[in-house]
Point group: C2
Chain length 204, copies 2
């Protein structure tokens, strides 16, 4: 199967697994092997977190369980449903915004869910899978349907699967998005030294 | 130099670079090579983000600039200063919680800074470096000193450097922490299927 090439245009060398990661809109509706899914979740499990709180939980719906998959798909906003329906696995991340040991607010809980989702994504990429994360989730509906307790909140969606051929996209605009460039701000705009706005001397 | 072994005890296979990552308290006060620092920041740059907003900025202070290093160290809480002073590089992440194109709140801005910090950490680990992230930062002081604009907020600290020998720790308790086990919740507690609390069938 032809794989769309969306490698990062690097200014400095990085691991291939980081440069090759991107978020496809076109998925091949193919199940994800159980062992691969477990490895992605295991990678998430070992992320760092403040006070080792591990404020992340994952609700998982696989293509192999069509009713569960359809239910979770229904909690995504419509624009996401249009392409996420072809993912092999859908996941909903759940965040706990208070420390379990003392009930105090965890200022970095969402950040730490990001660390776990990042590990998940690196592992997936290494296994030939693709990940497309989503903020567009009907949070209140999902919270009620999955009986998520008051201490926790649904937070983001994750589509995991095999990237598809953009030429075979059901909607042409999705295929086009998967062939467009991947813009990023240059390091000189996001790395400062000494004070805000001052380009780091060693960067130039 | 003897490297402390703090590999994850994996239940499912992952990339070595994910299993080998941990957050040391004992650093060897050795500078970080400029090219390695650039690669870590480049990795952060290519993280995913909602609407490709890239809501992250990094303020960087290297050992090679002792005054800048001391200034940033002073914005960490005292417990972090005790060990972070031996890092090769200190960084402060800065988050933009509104979308630049329409000024609306970005619900996942902190999560996406986590994705960038995660990429940074993976790249660092691959280069033989260690990363210890910190929530304990004097945010208001740092915001004023670095002249961070109202649109942005300092968020977390990052210590980057070479892990040191725990036996040579200045404070014994820090060396002990670096030799203690790395506990994690089992996947059965953080991965659910169908509804909250229901262990995924394919996990057992």
């Amino acid at each position: 199967m032809p794989q769309p090439a969306k490698h990062a245009e690097l200014d400095h060398p990085t691991l291939d697994v980081l440069a090759q990661r991107w978020s496809p809109y076109v998925f091949n509706p193919r199940p994800v092997e159980e062992e691969k899914l477990k490895s992605c979740l295991e990678a998430a499990r070992w992320a760092a977190s403040s006070y080792n709180e591990q404020p992340w939980t994952f609700l998982v719906a696989r293509r192999e369980e069509p009713e569960e998959f359809a239910e979770m798909l229904g909690f995504l906003v419509e624009a996401n449903q249009a392409w996420a329906k072809n993912a092999g696995v859908l996941l909903l991340t759940v965040v706990c915004r208070t420390f379990q040991r003392n009930n105090k607010p965890n200022r970095v809980a969402e950040h730490d869910v990001g660390l776990a989702a990042g590990n998940f994504t690196v592992q997936a990429t290494a296994l030939g899978l693709a990940v497309h994360q989503m903020a567009g989730v009907e949070l209140a509906k999902a919270k009620a349907a999955y009986q998520i307790p008051d201490t926790h909140d649904p937070y983001t969606g994750i589509a995991l699967g095999y990237a598809g051929d953009p030429a075979l996209a059901e909607e042409q605009k999705l295929g086009e998005r998967d062939q467009s460039p991947r813009p990023r701000k240059p390091l000189s705009e996001i790395v400062f030294q000494g004070r805000w706005g001052a380009t780091a001397k060693w960067l130039s």
